[in-house]
Amino acid sequence: MSLTLDDIKRVANLACIETSETEAAAALVHLSGIFSLIEQMQAVDTSTVKPMSHAQDVMQRLRDDMITESDQRELFQSIAPKTESGLYLVPKVLE
């Protein structure tokens, strides 16, 4: 498999990272190197192996359906880039 510049641009767009032509070209060089390392994985037959998603074989804990958090809106919004009347402001989405 070899990566193309279009792959880089597509993935950067999916990841919501603005990428210039120069940056995309540099990323292509680095990522191609990294993927040549990653390709070593394909040499192993794993058809009978179960994927391991986690280090500990444990189940998710359930908790009681109770309110544990208090209202800290002011504190949390004090570090927000832009707020108004307790709301987070972003550019207009609907005209």
């Binding site: 993935v11 190197g33 391991m52 972003v90 550019p91």
Partner: protein, 487 residues
Amino acid sequence: MLNSSLHQLSALIAAKKISSVELTNEFLTRVKAQNPVYNAFITVNEEMSLAQAQAADAMIASGQGHPLTGIPIAQKDIFCTKGWLTTCGSKMLSNFISPYDAGVIERFNTVGAVNIGKTNMDEFAMGSSNETSFYGPVRNPWDITTVPGGSSGGSACAVAARMAPAATGTDTGGSIRQPAALCGISGIKPTYGLVSRYGMIAFASSLDQAGPMAKSAEDLALMMNVMVGFDTRDSTSLQRAPEDYSRDLAKPLQGLRIGLPKEYFVEGLSSDVSSAVELAIAEYRKLGAETVEVSLPNTKLSIPVYYVLAPAEASSNLSRYDGVRYGHRAPEYVDLNDMYQKSRAQGFGAEVKRRILIGTYVLSHGYYDAYYIQAQKLRRLIAQDFSEAFKRCDIIMGPTTPTTSFPLGEKSGDPVKMYLSDTYTIATNLAGLPGMSIPAGFGNNNRPVGLHIIGNYFAEAQMLNAAHQYQQVTDWHIRIPDTLTDL
């Protein structure tokens, strides 16, 4: 004082020979004088540290002291710390004053430890040299032209240059052990799930684990006693009976079976590191341990597997940084999508972007099975290698890193070269096993070598015992760089 162990400082404080305020001032003065050389701290806040020290002195006066009450501890800037700037080494969080404390920070606060400052680190813990930090590289106290390792490079440097008696770190692929090795200190990454990840800024959640960094195994045990514990706010936190990690320190090593993986002593390991490690193992034989060759046949695959799984998890974890609720927002943009795209492009550094791109790619439609699922299957094989090996030995030893510290800039332009410096440490994260590094002599140019100790799940007390016994018959862990002439 600056060169004392946690145990010594603790005794001085308990005997009221020194107050926490005096001790904290002493370390703050040291940080102020030395940090311009090393860049180990991102944030120092005298006022807040001294307020904690005063509270600690009150705790001691009222007879409620704990072994770490009043002792300054450096905190990696990955732990959210209420009222403190918490940057994770990134421009993205360069304006983030945390509104809450991480579980780890809470535990230190409960026992009255003093936060002496937030330490520098690779951006979002992605790096092995501390060169990806938005706040600039940290320098290795043993040779300031070389890197301290990463990502917990600031913490390792702070302890090595005696700016803090101990520090916290986090380890996703070696980020406690590799800098500990390169800076000549001791560090342990506990079994996955023992230390709360609540408020620890996430990189790769199935691998991230916090642990202590200090001058000796004995001090690490004290830190572990504070850091380990169940936390309902971390869904992967393990509920277990509390342990005293110091309990087995004094045990003799007679009969301890040390496994030496043959894959760890082959091509790629530099000869100076190899000879130091072999001498350390010879020392263990003198202490009564037996050595047995073991095999971890899938060792070579751990780096490729890690560089699929960790970026995959990172790309998901870092999607939260969008410039809406906190963190960097681009000053100019035309619409919402442009705001996301520009904020993220400006807020993240090159290595973080690379890993987000890799992660997004391997999780994208059509590639998921070939990369992500294949990596998860190989992760199981790597974990199984260890369970097989532990049938023949109690503990595994080898080098922590393939080389000693390397010059600043040597590997920063070549990610693959940089990734290979975590060859020996990554597999333990994939398996979720505990791993530690302790000083084991010096390589060329008087640069420290780390001995890597891997234990079975929950074998931390045994690993600390093995490390402590070695530190009783060697003095590598108390050596300090020649440049620290004032100590």
